[in-house]
């Protein structure tokens, strides 16, 4: 999928959780959302995008995707 599309969605999600004063927690919430609602191929692709520099990802989104990258090596595409 187009990385712009995935980045935009990840940033939209992050904006909701961003109001948490604890930004680490905010990132964990975003991560939880990605795991619960994103098809594995989308997760793999955003991880790939992150590894390629992660252009466009907001801070919280980037943090969440970083954790995702640690947890699951890009598998299914």
């Amino acid at each position: 999928m187009h990385s712009d599309y995935l980045v935009r969605m990840a940033n939209d999600i992050s904006r909701f959780f961003a109001s948490d004063p604890d930004q680490e927690q905010a990132a964990r919430n975003v991560l939880g959302h990605l795991k619960r609602f994103w098809d594995p191929r989308m997760r793999a692709q955003i991880v790939e995008h992150y590894r390629a520099g992660g252009t466009g990802l907001s801070d919280i989104a980037a943090k969440a995707v970083a954790q995702l990258a640690e947890e699951e090596p890009a598998k299914q595409t």
């Binding site: 909701f16 961003a18 948490d20 609602f37």
Partner: protein, 957 residues
Amino acid sequence: MYAQDYIDPGTPESTADELVTVEIDGVSVTVPEGTSIMRAAADLGIMVPKLCATDSLDPFGSCRLCLVEIEGRKGYPASCTTTVAPGMKVRTQSEKLTQLRENVLELYVSDHPLDCDTCPGNGHCELQDMADAHGITTSRYDVGGRVHRDTPKDISNPYFAFDPDLCIVCSRCVRACDEVQGTFALTIDGRGFDSKVSASQNEPFLESECVSCGACVEACPTAALTEKSIIALGRPESTVTTTCGYCGVGCSLKAEIKGETVVRMVPNREGHANKGHACVKGRFAFGYATHADRIVKPMVRKKITDPWREVTWEEAIGYAASEIKRIQAKYGKYAVGGITSSRCTNEETFLVQKLVRAAFGNNNVDTCARVCHSPTGYGLKHTLGESAGTQEFSSVMKSDVIVVIGANPTEAHPVFGSQLKRRLRQGAKLIVIDPREIELVRAPHIAADYHLQLRPGTNVAIINALAHVIVTEGLTKDDYIESRCEVDSYRRWKEFVADPKNSPEAVADITGVPASLVRGAARLYATGGNGAIYYGLGVTEHSQGTTMVMGIANLAMATGNLGREGVGVNPLRGQNNVQGSCDMGSFPHEYSGYRHVSDEAVRAQFESSWGVTLEPEPGLRIPNMFEAALDGSFKALYIQGEDMAQSDPNTQHVISALSAMECVIVQDLFLNETAKYAHIFLPGSSFLEKDGTFTNAERRISRTRKIMEPLGGYQDWEVTMMLSNALGYPMNYTHPSEIMDEIARLTPTFAGVSYEKLDRLGSIQWPCNEDAPAGTPTMHVDEFVRGKGKFYVTEYVPTEERTSSRFPLLLTTGRILSQYNVGAQTRRTHNVVWHSEDRLEIHPHDANVRGIRDGDWVGIASRAGDTVMRAEVTERVQPGVVYTTFHFPESGANLVTTDNSDWATNCPEYKVTAVQVVKVSQPSEWRKRHRELTKRQRIQRRAGGGRVSAQPHSPSE
């Protein structure tokens, strides 16, 4: 007249707790206080003669036919207007009473032709019944030719006719229009023998304020107001109780039929959702089911540019299965998916998601609720614990303050709209939060106490401002919050909304709503007694749709407005089975009953029942499927009863995605817009052709019953089954009741549901299980489903869709009464006389500066695309905002909507698109292309041997 099989006890039921015992014709009967003598007698099976009374209306006491004698009282009181009193002794029969009644009847008959044999009401007319019972065949009264003979009939309404000659001026129609429907379109003009019923200012029905709900026709005791279908087809032979296939109110209807032909649909007075009312869609617009455009033979083609080829079911199903297998072999098992429909039954929806999960072997299943109420599911599940509305419709009759947000019930949920209006006429207060002046803001005998006419896209700012007032002015229900909610979450939320940045004054510039109105509305909601919130797609279809749903739940919890009658948070669902399709596990991440696919215990249960290993990861949502199709990883889609090419946003994008797939299977009634990009077409069946259940907006499960054989040969669930079997995953149900049994086995909230129980109780509101064997009208009574209610911080994030010098106006979209969703059904009925095209509403100021006059063609352009439609210059919209409906494909309203979507659920932001509007003389490129494509579709069909197969009784042939 009411349904043929209905026995009318004459006056409404009393709901008083106190009981009163009386004696009628020597027999004792105990009834609630406030019951009329007429109704108490009916309880004993004694039917007192009557004409002006009927149990859907308040008693009126005008015909004087229902006179009785009461021991110890003088005269002959009317039994419809006299209520029971303890120890009362009533006589309904005596010589004197008979004589009085005969006199009355003779008077009526003197002004009424007695050609019963040729009258369409013959056999189902209260006047005929009364006259027969009293042996009246002629009248002694000479009326000097004053009878209304030869008065012209009013046949302007496409569905019913008014014959003044048959009218006995009982006022039932007038009262039905006032009391039941709330439109106040009818009056009785003149006096005595000269009096007659007239619509609005003596206009034909069609041109009057009448909205064609049919309540007057249902109430009329004679054939003065009669369905034209009865005049054409004669008296029905039998009755089948079923459920409306249109909106989320889910009205119970009685189909009165002759053979397999529906003569008329009458609202069921015993229907739990609608209590004897219906609207122009459910009541009259069922002719699409036998419309000549129905495709009744399967068709296939290799490429979407090829002509369609009619084939046998075996060939079509075989081809579909082989394509899915081929694609999975070539591109992997995740390259295919399915879409369930909110227009199909629970059983059909359950089966499609089972097909995807068990036979396709992935979780790529989604439903059209994605584009309407998915934020409701997410928002309410997270805050309250259950993805559904909290009340039953009749709860509104106990509300003191009603808040309507982003919904237009009188157009989109008409029967509930009428009930709501009834409550408002009784004195409940009303707050409307909507960019547009919807009908409720100012209707006959109704005026909103507050109309917060906000700018599209600023819902969350408004809900935060309302909360700010409630919190900072100390209007919260602290003891309720303390005992029922997560106190930590409340504290965080309270701190957040109390921040001055959320005050009505601070957000006034954003929302466009004066702070004083927001403050007034907040105080009213928090302190006005039972506060109930009803909301629609104006809440969900935003980039912050889910946030807003959470904001609504926050507000209700903070004011203690959840967990009893008269309060609550109530999503008004668009299509009839939106609730059901969500309940049935249509979302890619959850099974029926909203349980996540990653939940091992739940998954294990499904695995053992279905005999397969299931995927633990969520699948693709509809918009993800489109993206994946464009990147080449998604290649085949089975679409049951959906028309994404018309209903989904950014049409061009949808079309590109569909065109990129190798196998699109469309199962539908008509060759719809999506079918233009399909390779396989499987004939669907209408709600008249199937057994099953629908679940309405109040979680009410009701039966739909088969009235005619499916025109294509199979009900939709049978088609899914054939496909599954062809794929090698056996499904062998013999009746939808067996599918429901499986649903009940696998879904805790449905555990107690069965067809037998549905037949016995009429309908059931889930959760229905051991704890609640007859269902659950009100949710979250002692505690929230999630245990403690959870507050969420709802920061306002402006949408990225902003006006600019290029696109200076905001477009928002909605619905109209006579049309339904993409219009595939209603456009194929006489409903087009009310609405034959989508129009763009524009404020006079915005129209003026653009030189646009009412009726002009205008071009509407956004960054996604452009289209043209005609303008309606109106103050219903505020300056800077334009509005349209999306019922007609040629207007291409979704060409301009963008692919912005809700952060949590990807529900599209239909309600906010920055646009420019200019006067044009040319049809848009889209209209030209659409015309060409439709023409091509027709040629492709004809070339392939397809033909228009005329069916009987197609109203708009």
